[in-house]
């Protein structure tokens, strides 16, 4: 799959309300290219609810239902049941939520929908903060990152939503990143062809939330993969396959870059470097990544 094979058709119009350099719109363009116009989106409170823009206009060329923060998966279940009743089973139902609506607030609705076996795709674009409401800490925020509610750095590590979802033993779950468009497109298209609940998580480096220059969005995604802070994998019927660079890292053909390479570009980790380099916290971050990769090598190699 090369970039020139991706369809020209756009389902997201220009002139929307996203910030310049927004990763969510990069992801959304790709996902809607893969799913096509025969899609119904369910969007809870998240940045995308803002990107839709102001009444009476919208920038999405697919039907969108806005719903309460915790109810993305529950709403999608309802839409899917209604379509099934009408015999329109070729329509894809897409629940599109941020990490706040997935990791923290929406987890019980998501878990319920996965357990019921609802035939839908749940996509979480993970920017590791509640960026829509002004950068608050979420369950996905990494250790020591600055947010407006963790001013001197978060004191806990993030949780592994991918593992929680895999514990539901659903037909398909995957992790992707906006910096790998072919990989993301292939995963969404694959999910479209599978019946049952599908979960895809996309890393979305957010310039105003992570405090980096808006032209570095794609580079931050690449570095997250190269340092091992983010992994690309897909899990089909409980068999996990690593993709792209993550596969090479897992096999140990190339070495992971130190985590510092990734975090030094981000203003949210600035207190680790200025006024004095905080070696202890940097070491803890690196250890956390190393430990995770040791586990991966034990489980999946």
């Amino acid at each position: 799959m090369a970039l020139k094979d991706l369809p020209i058709e756009e389902c997201l119009f220009q002139g929307n309300a996203a910030c310049p350099g927004c990763p969510a719109t990069i992801a959304l363009r790709l996902v809607l290219k893969a799913l096509g116009k025969n899609t119904i989106m369910v969007v809870p409170a998240c940045c995308t609810a803002v990107i839709e823009s102001l009444y009476p206009k919208t920038s999405f060329d697919v039907p969108v239902m806005n719903i309460a923060f915790e109810a993305a998966a529950a709403g999608a279940s309802g839409v899917e049941a209604s379509l099934r009743q009408q015999g329109k089973e070729d329509t894809t139902v897409l629940a599109w939520a941020g990490d706040g609506g997935t990791y923290d607030i929406g987890i019980q609705a998501l878990s319920g929908a996965l357990e019921r076996g609802t035939n839908f795709i749940y996509i979480c674009y993970n920017n590791q903060i509640y960026s829509n409401t002004g950068v608050q800490r979420s369950g996905a925020t990494p250790y020591s990152a600055w947010t407006t509610t963790t001013v001197s750095g978060k004191t806990e590590f993030y949780k592994e939503m991918g593992d929680i979802v895999r514990a539901h033993h659903i037909p398909y779950s995957a992790q992707a990143c906006i910096s790998q468009p072919e990989d993301l497109y292939r995963k969404v298209q694959k999910a479209k062809g599978i019946k049952g609940p599908k979960y895809i998580e996309i890393l979305a480096p957010c310039p105003p939330g992570w405090r980096f220059s808006m032209d570095l969005t794609v580079e931050m995604g690449d570095l997250a993969i190269e340092t091992g802070a983010w992994t690309l994998y897909e899990c089909e019927n409980d068999i996990v396959t690593f993709n792209g660079k993550s596969k090479i890292l897992l096999e140990g053909k190339i070495k992971r870059k130190p985590a510092e390479e990734w975090i030094k570009h981000q203003g949210r980790f600035r207190h680790l470097f200025v006024p004095k380099k905080d070696e202890e916290k940097l070491k803890l971050i690196q250890q956390h990544i190393d430990k995770r990769w040791e586990r991966y090598q034990k489980e999946f190699l």
Binding site: Q14, A18, L216, T217
Partner: protein, 90 residues
């Protein structure tokens, strides 16, 4: 476009739902066509979708809606897109 008879609030798709977002721009991407190798990286990574892909895979920038983030210039491997200040001081 088909209009629906519903009582609840309903938005209809339209280009430029937030107006001409090109006015947000400070730096303007300028494409050097002679350097372009048609790899389409700028087209797929443009957050706004402001880079139009033609049938022959050449690209054009729509300045009406480009927000000037500079992602296209940064992902271009052959440095065919440069960012110039919108209004230069004399």
């Amino acid at each position: 476009m088909k209009k629906y008879k519903v009582i609840t609030s309903l938005s209809y798709p339209q280009e430029g739902a937030m107006g001409k977002t090109g006015s947000w721009r400070v730096f303007r991407p300028v494409l050097d066509v002679s350097k372009c190798v048609k790899c389409l990286r700028c087209w797929i990574f443009c957050p706004e979708g402001s880079i139009k892909r033609n049938k022959d895979n050449s690209v054009e920038i729509n300045y009406d809606y480009c927000k000037g983030c500079g992602v296209c210039s940064n992902v271009c491997k052959v440095k065919a897109i440069t960012m110039d200040r919108e209004a230069k001081k004399e």
